[in-house]
């Protein structure tokens, strides 16, 4: 084989999980010194590709070449460094101590390791020198991110591939600039920097090359100058028409929302930390309102802030995305279903529980929401993830609040349960109630939601009626374009 000028080559790479093919025959060639962006819709295979490069997952067939030598990242982790999305550092230690942790050698493992020249050099390179003696909790987020990068550089000084997974989702635009500058520096030292980002505008600015992953394959590669934001948005949304969505049959069930009456209307919602900045939001009876935005856009804070601003659970009820918060893990299915209901539903005047009444009610709920269990008196943890999520949503629904506030109602849920959950929510709003749900997946918005607000940088940047779109591709284009929000 002739020597090529590529640092990393991926040849005919395939990976499947059981019956599903995650990656099919992927071929990529990457030169050193470049910043490479990877984009792809949820489920396209982007995450799998990144995990294989980082060595978190093994591949089935194909090969990876680094400097013309075959290598398997899952066996040889020293060549690839990952900077994770959420910073994994110790806030109560100084920046210097954070860098020193884990560097103890066998000679001085009983003493606190000393700062070495390497550490000083790397800190200097990333502009961290003046922060070395400050506790991390007193530093800004960008310093924390840079510390994470420095730590990666120190512990992985053989690495030639650097993966950045949404590194700036919590940073302001000036801070992001700083981060990108250090990424360029790393690339210029003969390495490859791979950047995964939802913010397409940034990719246009910083990436030398962009790879598009769709349906398990790398479909296109663009080099600098060949792409702009519009090109990338198109690439991201093409695949949607192929998705197995039961199309307009569902959309027809959606209620024509009457805009005259509002159940709820908040103007100029703000938070002290400026994550939300003057948001107007309202919802009508019978309406399912979607909130869409990328991580760090403020959309998660928005749903939580709405919950906190209405402190009356007769009026609104909130269900977080994490099941550790929405369910009582030590309790039975039965108890989880009724734990949020009123005292007089649960107990007689004398305080004793109405066990038979509750059990009848639970039996009804289990049937109504098709929760698959042999016995509702089993622990909640005996259920599958999808059925646990149905219980969580049912426990909020039985409260009969006017507004249901949901956060990613189908995260980590199988397709069958997803359909059940959409059905649950749709029949709930038929009774004159409303539902506000935060979604990260466009198919969910298309299938479930009547109207959608798009959030970017803590502001509402779009308000669309889903019925106005003829197909999911159109919707996806609009949402992706608006939410990728060009930074000033």
């Amino acid at each position: 084989m002739s020597t090529s000028e590529y640092l990393l080559e991926i040849e005919n790479l395939s990976k499947s999980y059981g019956q599903t093919d995650a990656l099919i025959n992927v071929n990529v060639k990457l030169e050193s010194g470049k910043v490479i962006g990877i984009i792809g819709a949820n489920g396209a295979g982007k995450t799998t590709l990144v995990k294989i490069i980082s060595g978190e997952e093994d591949f089935d067939t194909g090969k990876l070449l680094l400097n013309n030598k075959e290598f398997r990242p899952s066996r040889d982790a020293s060549k690839v460094a990952i900077v994770h999305q959420e910073v994994r550092l110790f806030p109560n230690l100084t920046v210097a101590d954070n860098l020193l942790i884990g560097t103890a050698t066998s000679i001085n493992k009983y003493f606190k390791p000393k700062k070495t020249k390497v550490i000083d050099e790397i800190a200097d390179e990333l502009g961290l020198t003046q922060y070395l003696d400050i506790e991390l909790q007193d530093c800004s987020l960008v310093i924390a991110q840079l510390t994470e990068i420095a730590k990666t550089l120190i512990s992985k000084n053989d690495s030639q591939i650097f993966l950045f997974d949404e590194p700036n989702s919590a940073l302001s635009s000036e801070e992001s600039e700083e981060l990108f500058l250090s990424m360029k520096k790393i690339a210029n030292q003969g390495n490859i920097v791979v950047l995964i980002s939802h913010r397409l505008g940034e990719l246009v600015d910083i990436a030398d090359e962009v790879i598009v992953v769709r349906d398990g394959s790398v479909v296109t590669g663009y080099t600098k100058g060949e792409f702009d934001e519009e090109v990338l948005v198109n690439e991201l949304t093409i695949g949607y028409s192929n998705n197995n969505i039961s199309d307009k049959t569902i959309t027809n069930q959606k209620k024509e929302s009457n805009d005259h009456v509002k159940l709820f209307d908040i103007k100029n919602l703000q938070t002290a930390d400026r994550k939300l900045n003057g948001i107007d939001i309202s919802v009508s009876p019978n309406e399912i309102l979607g909130l869409f935005g990328v991580e760090g856009s403020g959309v998660r804070e928005l749903i939580q802030t709405i919950d906190r601003s209405i402190d009356d659970d007769k009026f609104s009820i909130y269900l977080p995305a994490e099941r550790t918060k929405s369910l009582f893990r030590l309790e039975t299915i039965n108890n989880n279903l009724i734990v949020r209901t009123d005292t007089h539903n649960l107990a007689k005047r004398n305080g004793l529980m109405r066990f038979t009444h509750i059990f009848d009610q639970v039996t009804r709920l289990v049937k109504e929401f098709s929760i698959r269990t042999k016995n509702p008196l089993l622990p909640i943890t005996s259920l599958s993830g999808g059925n646990q999520q149905k219980v969580a949503i049912a426990s909020a629904i039985v409260r009969h609040s006017k507004i249901l506030l949901l956060e990613e109602p189908t995260r980590g849920v199988d397709i069958a349960s997803k359909k059940d959950i959409y059905e649950m929510l749709r029949s709930y709003v038929k009774n004159g109630f409303a539902c506000i749900t935060m979604c990260t997946e466009i198919p969910e918005i298309y299938e479930l939601v009547d109207r959608c607000l798009i959030i970017s940088d803590g502001k509402v940047v779009g308000d669309v009626l889903i019925n106005d779109f003829n197909n999911i591709e159109e919707l996806a284009t609009k949402l992706t374009l608006l939410s990728s929000g060009k930074r000033k």
């Binding site: 659970d313 909130y318 269900l319 977080p320 550790t324 918060k325 929405s326 369910l327 009582f328 893990r329 030590l330 309790e331 108890n335 734990v339 949020r340 005292t343 649960l346 107990a347 305080g351 004793l352 529980m353 426990s395």
Partner: protein, 334 residues
């Protein structure tokens, strides 16, 4: 012989709760060993004395269990036990009617519980710190109030009215049918009330939910603060009741009475299967835990190993029970 085994049915509550089943086995095992060493152990008289002796630990453990079920703990119960009886005794011997002195003593216990709850649930301090503080605060107060001297109403000058003295002695020192100590009756009544509260009532339903998943409880807007008040106030109140019953039984009390009760109470609750992280535990387990500790303590006395070795034994038994639980739990999950 085979038929006996075939027809023998294990009660269902033992099968459901492996911890209680283990405790029952341990209890039977200790009874057999102690009886073997000293046949006097297995007499009705010793049995009743043993249950009498565990009753105050039993009562206090039930209160303590509430704070542990909700995910906190209460270290001040021993101090409250001493303070309540001392405060009641001093008020009474200084001319207050016995009933008023009794009510005042119990109100003091409620006050300590309310302070614990306020600092824990409203201010948001860890209950360990709060109750460690009130433990010393209350004990110091008792020492100050009593000049560090014990009291004995019968030999007090001037003596309290005979009728009140009889009422006082009735509370803890009565024997029904000449053999059943009234403290066993109190323990039974309180246990039934607690069993109804925790296992049949909405109180226990919410208490366990809050203790098991505090985050979910907050999201579900359960009345967390209110329930912490209930738990801490009942815990202190039961400690006060136990203190007064023991005062009445013994006829005398001293300011540091009760400090030594703290460990046995925790041991009973933990051996009984409650999780210190909250949300898990039963009335039955707590009582059987207290019973096992009483049997060990009484049995070791009967065979005459001495008080210090007894302490060591109880300490080891507590750790052993929890360790055994952890190991079997791990086996189960494998």
């Amino acid at each position: 012989m085979k038929d006996i085994f075939r027809n023998f049915k294990i009660p269902s509550f033992l099968l459901k709760d492996s911890r209680i089943a283990g405790l029952v086995v341990a209890i039977l095992f200790s009874i057999i060993i102690f009886t073997f060493i000293n046949p006097n152990f297995l007499s009705l008289r010793n049995g009743l004395a043993l249950i009498r002796a565990m009753s105050s630990v039993g009562i206090m453990s039930l209160g303590l269990a509430l704070t542990i079920l909700i995910g906190d703990l209460d270290l001040s119960i021993g101090a409250v036990y001493g303070a309540t009886s001392m405060l009641m005794g001093i008020l009474w011997l200084n001319g207050t009617h016995f009933i008023y002195a009794l009510i005042f003593g119990l109100l003091f216990a409620v006050l300590v519980g309310a302070i614990n709850a306020t600092l824990t649930a409203v201010v948001g301090l860890p209950s360990f710190v709060v109750t460690l503080g009130t433990l010393n605060l209350v004990n110091g107060f008792t020492l100050l109030l009593s000049n560090a001297r014990g009291i004995n109403p019968r030999y007090h000058v001037p003596p309290p009215p005979i009728s009140e003295l009889e009422l006082f002695r009735f509370l803890g020192a009565t024997k029904f049918f000449g053999m059943i100590p009234i403290q066993i009756v109190w323990l039974t009544i309180i246990s039934i009330i607690f069993w109804l509260l925790i296992h049949k009532g909405i109180f226990g339903f919410r208490l366990l939910a809050i203790g098991g998943s505090p985050e979910a409880a907050e999201i579900a807007k359960l009345p967390i603060t209110k329930y912490k008040y209930y738990a801490f106030i009942l815990s202190a109140l039961l400690a006060g009741i136990a203190g007064i019953l023991d005062f009445s039984y013994l006829g005398a009390t001293d300011p540091s009475a009760g400090l030594a009760m703290l460990f046995p109470c925790f041991a009973a609750v933990i051996v009984g299967g409650a999780a210190l992280t909250g949300g898990k535990g039963t009335v039955m387990g707590t009582l059987i835990g207290a019973l096992l500790l009483a049997i060990l303590s009484n049995g070791l006395s009967v065979i005459g190993v001495g008080a210090f070795a007894k302490l060591m034994f109880v300490g080891a038994a507590t750790i052993g029970a929890v360790a055994l639980d952890k190991i079997t739990d791990r086996k189960k999950s494998l």
